[in-house]
């Protein structure tokens, strides 16, 4: 019997990066090179990652499709499966079912200015888009990133933040919640939505991509509206609990829309039409 959709790819953990307390990035390569060569995905797609012996959990693929030969999974150790992922060592194998779900409409955004707003552990899903955009830099206008975390220590992708900071073609505004700063912190202090309001990126010919905890999203939308962003130019990626990731297990739906099949990427216009069930 072939085509059993529940069988994951076996992938090898090539590199482990500790990003922040409890947060790690696993760089994964296909054990079977042929499978790896055939594998394609888009920024926004998610994966079901499995630690054999513990189960599966759902995260957006954190690396860009333009960075070939591997995918990356960034996660915070929280429950049984992520604790299992946390115990993996370089060279060990794990399971991945991917790519699943829809993706960000990057091709529709050509020539536009992009404003990324991310909070905490929500930078990873957005980083796939950011790196993808930076790898196709000529196709897009200004790139502005507003990224906030509770404390300096909680900021993820510290190396990449430095790179983005140094790039003349990226406007990075990293911020930490009041009280989360260190004496040598040179970034902003304040909650992400407030910093976004301060930075006030223009909404002219611009797309905003927002990803973060529900509370951050709730306070970010009005700021974007004030800046003149229309709902059709605001995108986010929803995270609901999933098991199958392919529209069958029945738990991730928001009204009639299944986050796993119709999402995880939704425009604000689509969100407005959905019942408050996420």
């Amino acid at each position: 019997m072939s085509n059993n959709i529940y069988i994951p790819y076996v992938m090898v953990v090539d590199k482990i990066t500790v990003e922040a307390p409890g947060v790690k990035t696993l760089r994964l390569r296909f054990q079977n090179e042929e499978e790896g060569n055939k594998f394609e995905f888009k920024a926004g797609n998610f994966a079901e990652y499995s630690a054999f012996g513990e189960g599966e959990c759902t995260f957006c693929i954190a690396s860009a499709p333009t960075r070939k030969g591997y995918i990356e999974c960034t996660f915070r150790k929280a429950g049984r499966v992520t604790s299992g992922l946390d115990r993996l060592e370089e060279g060990m194998t794990m399971g991945v079912r991917a790519p699943l779900g829809n993706s960000f409409p990057l091709d529709e955004w050509k020539g536009k200015n992009l404003v990324f707003v991310a909070g905490g552990i929500a930078l990873p899903p957005m980083r796939a888009v950011i790196d993808n955009v930076l790898d196709r830099r000529d196709e897009f206008g200004d790139v502005t990133i507003v990224y906030g975390a509770k404390t300096v220590n909680d900021l993820v992708y510290k190396e990449e933040l430095k790179e983005w900071e140094e790039r003349p073609d990226v406007n990075l505004f990293a911020t930490v919640d009041p009280g989360g700063e260190t004496p040598d912190w040179k970034g902003k202090v304040g909650f992400t939505p407030n910093v976004l309001g301060e930075v006030a990126p223009s909404s002219d010919n611009a797309i905003a991509i927002v990803c973060g905890p529900p509370i951050m999203i709730k306070f970010t939308f009005p700021v974007l509206e004030k800046l003149g962003f229309k709902d059709e130019n605001i995108y986010t990626t929803l995270e609901n609990r999933m098991k199958c990731g392919i529209g069958k297990c029945g738990r991730c739906n928001v009204g009639p829309m299944f986050v796993c099949k119709d999402g995880p990427v939704f425009s604000k216009v689509q969100l407005n039409a959905l019942p408050p069930e996420f």
């Binding site: 959709i5 513990e54 529209g247 297990c249 738990r251 991730c252 739906n253 009204g255 009639p256």
Partner: protein
């Protein structure tokens, strides 16, 4: 479609042939005063004096618990083993009810929504459904309100209708059904055109239509009716487990040392943990929101997305509910809700 007659005393001669030939025959078997579908080895063990079994027959294609694949950790490597062909058995479902047979329709759509679920399809394709039309119904039955009926042939391969004590009408509906008939050709004679099946069927009143419910649900997301109807719901999930169309499942791990299986088990939208995030956030935090999901999924989301309703009117959820929530009553209220 062919219409045949079998003499009542020949039915078990035919069933004995089926049991002899087919690897697995499932039929209602008494468990106390109730009955459940079980594998039978003897025609005499079939329970005919119950309206329906407590659980539906969906487990024949979608088992309560099934292995999705097995694996073995070998040092840093992991070896994966697919489900073996031997796990899928040719199966006859004997004495299903019309509401059991139509239940495979929604299941098949869910398990084939874009991604084809081979495990379900392998099992379902090996089923032959022999239904018995209903000459009796109880107060929980409402098939006629959801597009079905006591003699509805949809989803069945063969349908038997007891015309009188001596004779039973046999409607052969598919090639799979014909193959079962061929096992005992001498048992059957041609049916007279004058035989009227309708006259012997149970009378089940139409209380509402599916379309009425669908239309009402479009405006009912914020209705107070969900809280009112679910006030006594315990969130036990019994309704989902006995339902012929509930397909929601969980994926769990069964591991011992280096060996393990990834396992699919039935789940229910009535459980708190069904949608609860690791952070503790729950998009459906109350029993009212979970009850709404149950009704909405079956009567709004499924028709909108899969072009099929997720209810066959078998009434099992009402019979199984420990606090007597009656879905037909609740649906009637929704249909009449302003």
């Amino acid at each position: 479609m062919e219409r045949l007659i079998i003499k009542s005393d020949q039915i078990h001669t035919w069933l004995a042939k089926i049991i002899e030939t087919v690897p697995r025959v499932l039929a209602p078997v008494k468990t106390g005063s109730k009955a459940e579908f079980k594998e039978i080895k003897d025609a005499g063990s079939v329970a005919y004096d119950v309206i329906t079994t407590t659980s539906s027959v969906k487990a024949s294609a979608f088992p309560n618990t099934e292995t999705l694949f097995a694996y073995e950790k070998q040092g840093t490597d992991t070896k994966i083993y697919d489900v073996a062909e031997e796990n899928f058995l040719d199966t006859v479902i004997w004495r299903a009810r019309p509401c059991d047979a139509v239940g495979f329709g929604p299941l098949t759509k869910i398990f084939n929504w874009d991604y084809k679920d081979k495990l379900y399809n392998e099992r379902f394709s090996r089923l032959v459904v022999v239904s018995f039309a209903c000459d009796k119904a109880d107060g929980c039955c409402f098939c006629t309100s959801v597009g079905g009926g006591p003699g509805n042939t949809a989803g069945s391969d063969i349908m038997l209708t007891k015309i009188n004590d001596k004779e039973t009408l046999v409607e052969v509906l598919t090639d799979k059904g014909q193959k079962l008939i061929d096992l005992c050709k001498d048992c059957f004679t041609k049916a007279d055109d004058s035989i009227d099946k309708e006259s012997v069927l149970a009378k089940i009143p139409v209380r509402f239509t599916r379309e009425q419910i669908h239309e009402k649900l479009a405006k009912s997301f914020e209705s107070p009716i969900w809280k009112a109807q679910s006030e006594r719901c315990l969130g036990c999930g019994a309704c989902a487990f006995v339902c012929p169309t509930c397909a929601c499942f969980d994926i769990q791990e069964g591991a011992h040392g280096n060996h393990g299986r990834r396992v699919r088990c039935w789940d229910s939208c009535g459980f708190t943990l069904f949608t609860q995030h690791t952070s503790g956030h729950n998009p459906r935090p109350t029993q009212a929101t979970r009850w709404r999901q149950r009704v909405m999924h079956k009567f709004s989301y499924m028709p909108d997305r899969l072009d099929i309703y997720g209810c066959t009117g078998c009434g099992r959820c009402s019979r199984a509910c420990p606090v007597d929530m009656n879905i037909a009553e609740h649906l009637t209220n929704i249909a009449n809700n302003e």
